[in-house]
Symmetry: C2
Amino acid sequence: MNYAVILAGGVGSRFWPFSRELEPKQFMKILGETSLLQATIQRVKGLVNPAQTYIITNSIYFYEVKSQVAKFRIPDKNIILEPEGKNTAPAIGLCAKLISQIDKNAVLLVLPSDHYIKNINNFKQTLKKAIVSAKEGFLVTIGFKPTLPSTGYGYIKVNGKKNNHLGVEKFLEKPDLNKARKYFKDPHFYWNSGMFIWKASAFLEESRKYLPKLYANLQLVHSVNDISKIWPKLESISVDYGIMERSRRIVLIPANFYWTDLGSWDALAEIFPKDKKGNISNKDVLHLDSQGVCVFSRGNRLVSTIGIKDIVIADTPDALLVCDRSKTQSVKKLVEMMKVLNRKEHLVHLTEKRPWGSFTVLQEGVGFKIKLIEVSPKKRLSLQRHKSRSEHWVVVSGKAKITTEKHVWVADKNRSVYIPMGMKHRLENPTNLPVRIVEVQVGSYLGEDDIERLDDDFKKECRASV
Amino acid sequence: MNYAVILAGGVGSRFWPFSRELEPKQFMKILGETSLLQATIQRVKGLVNPAQTYIITNSIYFYEVKSQVAKFRIPDKNIILEPEGKNTAPAIGLCAKLISQIDKNAVLLVLPSDHYIKNINNFKQTLKKAIVSAKEGFLVTIGFKPTLPSTGYGYIKVNGKKNNHLGVEKFLEKPDLNKARKYFKDPHFYWNSGMFIWKASAFLEESRKYLPKLYANLQLVHSVNDISKIWPKLESISVDYGIMERSRRIVLIPANFYWTDLGSWDALAEIFPKDKKGNISNKDVLHLDSQGVCVFSRGNRLVSTIGIKDIVIADTPDALLVCDRSKTQSVKKLVEMMKVLNRKEHLVHLTEKRPWGSFTVLQEGVGFKIKLIEVSPKKRLSLQRHKSRSEHWVVVSGKAKITTEKHVWVADKNRSVYIPMGMKHRLENPTNLPVRIVEVQVGSYLGEDDIERLDDDFKKECRASV
């Protein structure tokens, strides 16, 4: 049977300020209302059943993945949680081991969750060819004919046709521009897409040869409960470096569909329609004599430009980036600067997601804080109390169930509630529609850590659930 | 006696998005906590008494001017209100007529309110020289030796020394670059600063010759009550074009202090300190490999740049401008575009000023709106009621006096109030410290025009007082 192994643990920073450490690229909605992760799942429909679709991710992303995959009927148990990121080889190895225990002949479609693909039918045809080769015992990689001498991709050198695929001579890491130009001219070079197809058993055999320590540890895994025991002992290593650059069973299937790994703002700009002057505007934008300007906006502000050229503007409520289009690779460096400076704009958005919904700090002043809180249908926050603040709630849409020490009741829109300092309380959405609450906190200390949680539905591996 | 006539009616758009039609440049605090208007008043201390300081402005700016000049003890009656802008000649003529009725020998210091000047002592010395010449009956203008071939200033050609001033041959409008280069090389050319010193009587005599229609209408003005009668009949004309280009009584005093008319973002950038790479940052900014970038921020956001050069970034909560530094003159055009598109970002800021304080819309959603309201000491809003909305108020700092149909009471911080739809209510600050209220509006229609005002302290010529 075919299994999808979708890699969704990445913490990429290249789309900062749209992506944040706690809301990485794979969860972003690039075009329309579907995230890159959701699009990845949608693409394998017909090749893989939901019950055979696995998602491996970092434990801090569990609730986000769970809510994003809910509509695909993928069982919760198929969301595999890494205690911490160890790069791709351990993640894929773990899934190969767990799946091979269920199905010895399993064929794995290993797919990154943060790429962009057009022509889904061609994608499926390519994957079907790859499955044929995988069943013959090969480790199959999907390669793309370079369309420019890119320094942003790894390359694969092939050495002639074998049956329905190409033999692979070697894997090459991201080159400098000189090498990239050489590779680009040579018809034997392909871009490495990071999409791999192989039998779980074939992958485990190769691991035994080339990553014996990983293999030995995987032998100790009989269920997900064993992950935490072996994980700290594993080395962080990519599948490219650990297996693909060494194995002799590798073949390549050339792809015939549009693909980009969306490695930078400039790569993202490629997939958007442009006006006559090459400007991209996804929102409320005014350009005067500008060209090649790409505006990406997550705020409600008017973005205007005059006389600028080839610049990316990425606008969010708490952070703005203005970047030359030829320098978008440096966004990573900027994020490193923010870490060193102990800022928080690289970690979370102003609207912070929670397992039960989200909240946005609208304003903070001396002695007060104003939040807009959204509780998802049938979800509730923890039963909690605060030492240093009182809270005023106004229900502005939907119906909220409110529990305090004295009362339990359902508050309609336009009702308000006062929660004095120290009083136990709980906010819940008992309905099938979202509830929105304006919360005005008043007190001497208003940090997120002034919460005593007395009962919490979301204790499982995840960050603070408020 | 000396009189200051400070021109504060301009609606300049060159500093958009910092300046807005309803909050123009002269009211902006460029450096520190003093606005350009306030700095203008401060500069003439010692030359002119507060009782002889007049400010002529557009009627919509009355409360803003009043609050900005409060600390200078200038009588309210010295704030002269134009029913509408008619350029500088009618404004100056009106002040000359009104002041000449009080003091026939009045010497007027006519000063724009939106320029930037350093070396106040030298400024005063120059003005004192100008007053000497003015008393001899000359129309005196202050000129600056050009420091570059600017196309942003008007020029004045002089023709040799007469006593303590220079004779003026002619006034020249803003030139093209070729002409500007010629003027720059010729030692007979000065920049026109727009600062003029003359006897009220001398100005009126010249008006009689060169602007007879204006002069005739001014004869009908005996008090401020007469302004509205003549104003609609006046032609809109600048003093430069109407008088200075024609009169033969004009002389020039060269200035020896730093001055800029702050005609653009680029001119503003000149007066700020720069880092090693020529970047200016007045706030929370991260630059990576950028140079000559000027960030001006009125928001709370992180502004970051990568690899950009010679660009102005002006960031406000509801509008962002990213502009090449050589194109900052085009901001005017952008504002014209916004007018044509019927937008509102060129009119007001997200935080809107009111005679009683200010309010900021923090969030608007379907059926609700969240505002932060600040009421200045001893001020109150109108007694009002709403047809389509209820309001929830939470006092978050200070003490508010709240009046409803049923009660009158003073609410402390952390107290909340519910104002049901249709109920009369009034919000007041009875204390000497500002009061802040979070207002959550809930209703089917939440426009600013759903207010029935039953009593209002601020009915006088001004925009809606909420």
